[in-house]
């Protein structure tokens, strides 16, 4: 299996890069596993890794319809943060942040985690109050948060218009210094290689077409590569959750699938060294190591499985980045793309046992799933292995909606497009 070092780089450079070994095996599915994880994205691969690494469960298969990491793990804007308001979210995402801080070492794979800071700009006294309240809630939960004045913001991010005559004058900003970005594909590849080495079978081009059942209990899956049985079947399929659950006979579920677009500009010299978000609209932006500005905004606001969006959203998002950084107005867009988001009814995820016996569920990530990847895999593996939730995912049940215990950061209620 592939090992990476300065020496191997040099050696392979001299041999024309023809001798690199694959990073993981391509096994055929076995007829039986202890656990099947459906979905070979970030969350599914992380789950398989933690099942093997933390719980010693290595007779595991990850089934992926396309190729590993072909969904949202490769389509996001790479932001990692834990700047939440509600205690349940703070606990969960801070746990994730701590796993991120050691992830490259743990996987022996450079995920290029860069704690460059995430700065949320506020544009009115009311918004400043709300951000300071969130900053206090974060500090109360042991998370780092700092309030910056417009002058401090001007020194930190020189491209911003901090004058009073800006279209949306900046009143301050909430900074989480430990937040930042990571190389999204490397996260998928790192977890995949680490899981593969512990004996997990990563099976690509294998679509789940149905579920094998014994009465109510799920005992395995039918796939395009044959039937596979397992004691436990775990779902981590993000925007496809409703489609896969339908194959298990569940017709309605508290999820809507929406399309979210993301953008990258042509490469620039170093321009901004932290993640900046625009509070007068909805925009988040950072500069990649290759120099492109990577940014995104709101959903397209209608149900979609299309992995591509429409032009009004493109116009909206680009007009916001120009309002924030007037200097980028002449910049050309390099690419734009879309991903399908599993928008839940309160904007928070669902990581739980059920809803059928033998089935486990991980979904509802809205558009915040990337930063959650390590904690999602960690707590989902825990739930699968022990048949009970870890403390960090205990509040994120499916039952919380009917119990009236929704975890709604923004207070938008059951209107998924607004989370």
């Amino acid at each position: 299996m592939a090992e990476y070092s300065a020496f191997s780089l040099l050696k392979n450079a001299f041999s024309g890069n023809r001798d690199w070994k694959p990073a993981w095996r391509k096994p055929d599915p076995k007829p039986n596993y202890d656990v099947i994880v459906i979905g070979g994205g970030g969350h599914g691969l992380a789950t398989a890794y933690y099942l093997a690494a933390e719980h010693g469960i290595t007779n595991v298969a990850v089934l992926e319809r396309g190729w590993l990491g072909s969904g949202n793990i490769g389509r996001n804007t790479t932001i990692v943060r834990s700047n939440y308001l509600l205690p349940e979210s703070v606990r969960f995402y801070e746990h994730s942040m701590k796993l991120w801080e050691n992830l490259s070492h743990e996987l022996n794979y450079n995920v290029m985690f860069s704690q460059r800071g995430v700065l949320n700009l506020a544009h009115s006294p009311g918004q400043a109050d709300a951000f300071i309240r969130r900053g206090n809630a974060m500090r109360h939960g042991g998370v780092d948060a700092e309030w910056l004045t417009p002058c401090e913001i001007g020194r930190k991010v020189p491209g911003l218009d901090i004058s009073g005559s800006a279209r949306f004058p900046i009143t301050g900003g909430l900074l989480q210094p430990r937040a930042g970005t990571a190389r999204h594909d490397a996260v998928a590849w790192g977890y995949a290689r680490a899981a593969d080495r512990r004996g997990v079978d990563l099976i690509e081009n294998c679509e789940v077409t149905g579920f094998l059942r014994d009465g109510d209990k799920i005992t395995g899956v039918s796939t395009t590569r044959g039937d596979i049985r397992a004691k436990k079947v775990a779902l981590a399929v993000a925007g496809s959750t409703s489609r896969v659950l339908e194959r298990a006979g569940i017709d309605t579920f508290p999820i809507e699938s929406h399309v979210l677009q993301a953008f990258v500009s042509e490469a620039l010299k170093p321009f901004v060294d932290c993640v900046v978000t625009f509070g007068a609209g909805h925009l988040y932006m950072s500069q990649s190591d290759k120099g492109g500005l990577v940014f995104g905004g709101s959903l397209d606001f209608y149900n979609s499985y299309a992995q591509r969006g429409n032009l009004p959203t493109v116009e909206d998002v680009t007009s916001e980045i120009c309002a924030m950084f007037p200097t980028v107005a002449r910049l050309r867009l390099l690419r734009s793309w879309g991903g399908v988001m599993d928008m839940s009814m309160d904007g928070s995820p669902i990581i739980t046992k059920g809803p059928l016996p033998g089935l486990y569920l991980n979904c509802g990530w809205c558009y915040g799933g990337f930063k959650a990847t390590p904690a999602s895999g960690y707590s989902f593996a825990w739930t699968i292995a022990k048949d009970e939730p870890h403390t960090i995912n205990a509040p994120f049940t499916l039952k919380r909606f009917e119990r009236g215990a929704a975890i709604d950061e923004t207070g938008h209620g059951p209107t998924p497009k607004l989370h």
Binding site: S240, D251, A306, M345, E402, H412
Partner: protein, 92 residues
């Protein structure tokens, strides 16, 4: 995406506001059937394919519409005015 409003003709997507799934029906307000209310408020079929949904021509004639659209490719199959026999949709 262009939407063919029955009053105004084909107009750009940006004039319209999405109001969600139109297949849900609100239980009788006097109903105390908790399960029916939970289903109505929280659960959605979320189909990949044909989807019947509410839109409002907010930047035009302000009519509420029921549109049948394919969620896999955004193709619009039909547009009709929302009538009394439909009730439901999202609050915002």
């Amino acid at each position: 995406m262009l939407i063919d409003c029955p009053h105004c003709g084909a107009r750009d997507l940006s004039e319209f506001s999405y109001q969600g799934d139109a297949t849900r029906t609100r239980p009788d307000p006097a109903s105390t059937d908790t399960k029916a209310w939970i289903d109505y408020v929280y659960n959605r079929p979320n189909p990949a394919g044909k989807h019947r949904e509410y839109w409002q021509h907010a930047g035009g004639c302000r009519a509420h519409l029921v549109i049948e659209r394919d969620t896999l490719n955004h193709e619009i199959r039909s547009v009709a005015l929302a009538r009394r026999d439909y009730n439901g949709g999202d609050a915002a």
